[in-house]
Symmetry: D2
Subunit: 137 residues, 4 copies
């Protein structure tokens, strides 16, 4: 899907002890979640019921910003610091949870919220899976 | 690959007259390019020859920032403005060109630069393709 | 206001031939514009008339993303490339123009739009001033 | 310094119970920290001793990305969620700590690292101050 796995293989230094498959999947789910959340906030604004979707639009924008930051932090083996990675994944997990809860409330009437909520749920799961592999390392 | 096509389908308003396949491909190439450039800058820093890779590290970071911004602008049909979209695609095309030129100079010794240069080239191509479809609209 | 001027002074390489005062002012106006646009999109969503503010919310989010990218590109002397800088400033100028036009339409009823429109106008002016100094160099 | 305080005053909804002065200062320190970190990574790459500054360059780029995301999350009262705000501030505090530790190791020889380390220390302090005010609310 992305070149992330190839970029990891090409890294000239020593990679941190981290589950590489979980890392690649998490970066890809972060990128997809950031994109879906950006689209969803725009769809919420364009909805005739925009005034009822204000919290949802804001929650997915927060999630897009933290997912973008997380994808970048996870793409840098050189300054790897377990505490920074864990706290970044935790912040994104909270943002995904808040965005998912808002999206789910509107999913029946709003297809954009349904798809985006699913992207947030999947991203949170990938973050939690990677977090557990960090804790075992 | 991403949920971008599904998000476009779910958009509650009227989509701008734009080649939707070219749009989806461009967003995906932007996300991949941003990720590859972020990894490449980190790989350049970790290279024993880092001092020779300074311009390359900076060029790919510029490209990552403009690709991230472009993916977001392209994900918002609601405020669509042809001049903003065209200028954003043009800025990213220039950043891809500069990053590709630097990466290509190091591609033989540095596998990360080879992969990243290819991601930049593909992203620039997707931007140019989308730009041409805007001009015909 | 920010440490940008001190960071330029501390740069270990040779700075590109560029008006340094215009550069520092432009980076600060980009950061302020990005912040004001982010707040403004949130205020638009929270407005009872949110459905009428959809284009405005999207235009300021585009402007926030391009202003953030521009502040970063302008903060990197090492990979300086006049074409990349000019195209980045041009894209942000277009986004500021689109955001200003939307904000101005709502400025009488909506104080957030009034302040944000002013921030966009000032940022566009700083970009144009820096662009002209590049062309003279 | 920025329009953040004016934007808060103009907010059309009900602001969350949060220390507004601490919020405004924190957003401004985030923006300055993100800018200083972006400049510092570029200065590290341009240093003849770039190969020794690899971890520092990466740590400040992580910090720039998390500070940018935090400034945006803190600029949105509408979707306010105490857990998301606290986790975002915690992630940035960790990134500031890691960046400060790296910058401090190079501060004697490298003026960019000295200034940037100070910006990170101040930003971490503003985050901790805001975090404590959230816990009291």
């Amino acid at each position: 899907m992305t070149d992330m796995a190839a970029m990891l293989n090409a890294y000239p230094g020593t990679l941190p002890k981290i589950d590489e498959d979980a890392l690649v999947i998490c970066v890809q789910d972060c990128l997809n979640c950031a994109q879906a959340c950006t689209s969803c906030a725009d769809a919420c604004a364009a909805d005739p019921a925009a005034a009822q979707l204000a919290r949802c639009a804001g929650a997915v924008l927060n999630c897009a910003d933290l997912a973008t930051a997380a994808a970048r932090v996870l793409s840098r083996p050189t300054p790897y610091d377990g505490e920074v990675t864990a706290a970044t994944l935790h912040a994104l997990t909270e943002a995904c949870r808040a965005a998912y809860d808002e999206c789910r409330r509107h999913a029946l009437e709003n297809e954009a919220c349904r798809i985006c909520g699913e992207a947030c749920r999947r991203c949170a799961q990938a973050c939690r899976h990677l977090l557990r592999s960090l804790e075992r390392a």
